[in-house]
Symmetry: C2
Subunit: 203 residues, 2 copies
Amino acid sequence: MTDTRGSARRGRRPGDSGTREAILDAARGRFSSEGFRSATVRAIAGDAGVDPSLVMHFFGTKQALFVAAMEFPINPADVVPHIVGPGIDGLGERLVRFLLGLVDELGEANPMLGLVRSAVGHPDAARMMREFLGEAILDRVAAAIEADRPRLRADLCASQIVGILMARQILALPELAAADRETLVGVYGRTIQRYLTEPLDPR
Amino acid sequence: MTDTRGSARRGRRPGDSGTREAILDAARGRFSSEGFRSATVRAIAGDAGVDPSLVMHFFGTKQALFVAAMEFPINPADVVPHIVGPGIDGLGERLVRFLLGLVDELGEANPMLGLVRSAVGHPDAARMMREFLGEAILDRVAAAIEADRPRLRADLCASQIVGILMARQILALPELAAADRETLVGVYGRTIQRYLTEPLDPR
DNA sequence: TCCTGATCTCAACGTCTGTTGAATCCGAGT
DNA sequence: ACTCGGATTCAACAGACGTTGAGATCAGGA
C-alpha cells in the first residue's frame, strides 16, 4: 500500500532498482528447474515482477540471458587449487565433498543443474557444460595428478559427477537423495580416486 | 513415380499401410534426440510422411504417443536373469557390457536417451525412468546379490549408468565417446561391482 | 454390390512463444 | 530549471504449437 498511484505504472521506478539482478535470479531459478526450452521469458519476467520486454531490453535475447544467468557463481581457478593442493591422497573425497556441498548450498538456482537440464537437446548448452566441466575443473585436476590418459580420466570423472547430479537432483532416486552425505563422499570419493589413478587397460 | 494421381490425396492408402509403426519409429527418433518438450507432433508426422492429425487419431495425445514410443524394445525380465545368472563374479562387467552394447545397437532411436532427455524438467518422464531403472533392472540385480542396503546400492549403480549415458551420448565428451568399449567395460564394471558389494559405511 | 468402419488429409481453432516499437516516467548532470 | 537518457510498461506481431472436426477415400465383410 505504499504505492500511492493505483496499480501498474510505466516508466522508471524510484530507487536504485536492482532489477537486473532480480531478473538474473529469476532466470537462474527457471533455467535450473526447467531447462532452456521450457523456461519462458514471460515466466522469468513474472518471477522478477517485471514486464517481459524489460528482459529483452537488458539482455537482448533469451539465449544471451541464458548465458548470463548460467555464469558460474564461483571461480574454479580460485577453488580447485585448494582441493588439489593437499595432494593425491583423499583427492577424490575432497572433490565429491565440495560438489555435494555446493549443490546443497546453491539449492534451486544451481547453474550446473541448468546446464545439465539444457544440455539435453540443446547442443550449445551441451558445449557450455562440456567446456565448464573440462577446462575449468577436470583438466586442472588431471594436470595435477600424474597418470596416463589424463583427458580420458577427466571424462570418466565427469560421467560420475553428472550421474550424481542426474540421479540425486533430477531423477530424485529416493535412497540416494536421502543418503547421508559422508556416506556418499566415501563411496563416490573412492570411485573418483580410482578414475584418476588406477590403470585403465582392459584386463 | 508409382503414384499415378498427382500429389497428396485424402483417404486411405491401398495396402497394409504400417503407418502406425512408421509414426512410432519417427517418434522414437525425435523423442530420443530432442526430448519430450522439443520434439513436436508436426515434426514426427513429417518424418513419418503423414498429417499431424493422423498422429492424434492413432494416439490421442502427445503424452500418450510418448508413452507408446518409449516402451522398451526388450523385456528386462528376459535378459536380466541371463546377466545375473553366472553369479557375482564379473556381474558389474556383464551389466556394463550389456548396456554399452544396447546403446550402440539402438543408435538414434534409443528409449533410454528419450527418457533421460525428457526426465529433465518433466517429472512424469523422470518417474518413468526411475521406475524402469529401479523396478525393471536394478531391483532384480540387487535382489540377486546378498548385501546390506540393496536399494541404495541400486541407486548408486543407476547414478553411474545415467552418467555414462549423459557423458557419452548427450554431452559427447570426446575421449569417452572415442574410448575402446572393453576399456570402459573394465573401468565401469569395477565401479558397478563395488557399488553392489563393497561396504558402504563412511570411513 | 452395398455398407461399415478404419485410415487419411485439410483447414482451422485458440494458446503460447520470443521479440519489437512506441510511449511514459524519472534520476542525474548541467 | 531543463534537458538527456536509461528504466519501465503496454500493445501487438508473426510464427509455432497441440488439438479438433469435418470430410474424403478405400478395404473387407455381408
